[in-house]
Amino acid sequence: MDFIFVGFIEAFSLLLGGDDQTWSAVAATIKASSGSMVASLILGVPLGFTLGYFDFPAKRQARLLVDTALALPTVFIGLVVYAFISKRGPLGEMGLLFTLPGIAIGQTILALPVVIALSATAVESMDRHLRTLLISLGANRRQLLLSSLWEVRYGVLAAGLTAYGRVMTEVGISMMVGGNIKWHTRTITTAIALETGKGMFATGIALGLVLIAIAFGVNVCLSFLRKK
């Protein structure tokens, strides 16, 4: 069982010693997850707000659909994205297979339902009196919408963080779509899968700790947004 302890030590030496392979995996992870987070927030927040704020026909069905999509397995998303961007697939000409943008597309599909569902919930749980108050203060439709948006900012932040957690830690999409190519599409999670497969448990644990350290860093940064 000494590989657990060795893993902790190795984690520090990998991070502090500037190990090229580790930093390349860190960079791949951050690039792919940043791309997918930007895309899923830009698409997801307006959709989530719409879903939670407005009443429209088939709203319940749309909600049901989004909630079901929360359970999409990553390997399945990976498989579907692979099928689409393979040279023989409908989007094959774009050359996205085995690239970080390809991974980001898959991760966007993974993150989108989380962002939509959680921002919709945040909007729904907003204080109902706020609307009445704002109207009584003479707010017009646009002002009403903007203040409501401002009011749910923490909920949206939480939605983003939850989605980020899923995107950072997924392995199915990165493996299927990225191909775990060294120096290019090897992310931290696919590297862990590879090292574990090779029986290098200590390195796997070390990489896992590296991933947690990044997540911690991101959360520290975002917690300052919250405190203001």
Binding site: A27, S86, L97, G199, C221, F224
Partner: protein
């Protein structure tokens, strides 16, 4: 308080920026995409060869390591330019179907059957057919790749050589669906047998600091030869397949430099592959 917050914000932004900048995309204009098997990658052979290849030809080699079955499929889907695989019958069928061209033998190693020291089925020193027969009679745990890889195809052919059916549903026959090293580890955890290419076994012994719980029990049987070949993807089927780069890679692998590198690639002082390009 305010300045402290601002400082943290600055540090965060700075960190994000440096991470973006520090890693420029390694932009070589000539990139060859290869699908290969887990054994060439897990042993570290490709890590050893790739820089020499880039130096000699200016072509950057990118590879994804999967089972031979999936590698062939990736070629069929035109997702890669070249294959380095080890399942001769499947490769020949592949060329006949027009998916691949210019199949060329590069190197070989051999398969071995490994198992726990106390050898519950008593297979040590037997030939392959007798050894697998003994495993079957005893119902000893046997870990199989079960993933349609070259190794898996080979193992299935060995079971067929015993004259009985593949023990597909027997409780002692464990199909892992994972790579070779993962499968060896599973066999070790279950105190069972498995068949592996020698290269991966030596790598395994190396990570176990030369004292692995599983030992080589059956070897040197002619039926255990493991031939690796390189195949280019047919450009007539896949218009984007880089046949010129694939040919350059194939020529380089068969040339004196690469054959020498393969011969000298050793772990624990033992060579892992024997070059045999003609």
């Amino acid at each position: 308080m305010r300045s402290e917050k601002q400082m943290v914000a600055k540090v965060c932004i700075l960190l994000a920026l440096t991470l973006m900048m520090v890693f420029p995309a390694m932009a070589a204009d000539k990139v060859l995409m290869m699908a290969t098997t887990t054994s060439t990658d897990n042993t570290g052979l490709l890590d050893d060869l790739a820089p020499h290849f880039t130096k000699a030809t200016g072509i950057e080699l990118k590879w994804t390591s999967v089972g031979t079955g999936k590698a062939l499929k990736m070629g069929e889907n035109c997702d890669v330019d070249v294959l380095l695989v080890h399942a001769p019958p499947a490769e020949k069928a592949y060329v006949e179907k027009g998916f691949g061209v210019n199949r060329r033998e590069i190197m070989y190693n051999d398969f071995v059957i490994i198992g726990p020291d106390r050898d519950p089925a008593g297979i040590e020193g037997k030939n392959v057919v007798d050894a697998l027969g003994a495993v079957r009679d005893k119902g000893a745990v046997f870990a199989s790749r079960g993933d349609d890889s070259g190794t898996h195809k080979k193992e299935l052919s060995l079971w067929k050589a015993t004259g009985a059916a593949v023990p597909e549903k027997e409780s002692w026959y464990v199909q892992t669906g994972q790579g070779m090293l993962a499968t060896i580890n599973i066999a070790a955890e279950r105190n069972g047998y498995t068949m592996t290419d020698r290269g991966t076994y030596i790598k395994y012994a190396d990570t176990m600091k030369g004292n692995p719980p599983l030992k080589v029990l059956v070897e040197q049987d002619e039926i255990l030869l493991n031939q690796y070949s390189v195949l280019a993807i047919n450009p007539q089927r896949c218009a984007k397949a880089k046949i010129d780069l694939a040919t350059a890679f194939s020529d380089w692998l068969a040339g004196a430099e690469a054959q020498g590198l393969i011969r000298n690639f050793k772990l624990l002082g033992k060579p892992l592959f024997v070059p045999n390009a003609k």
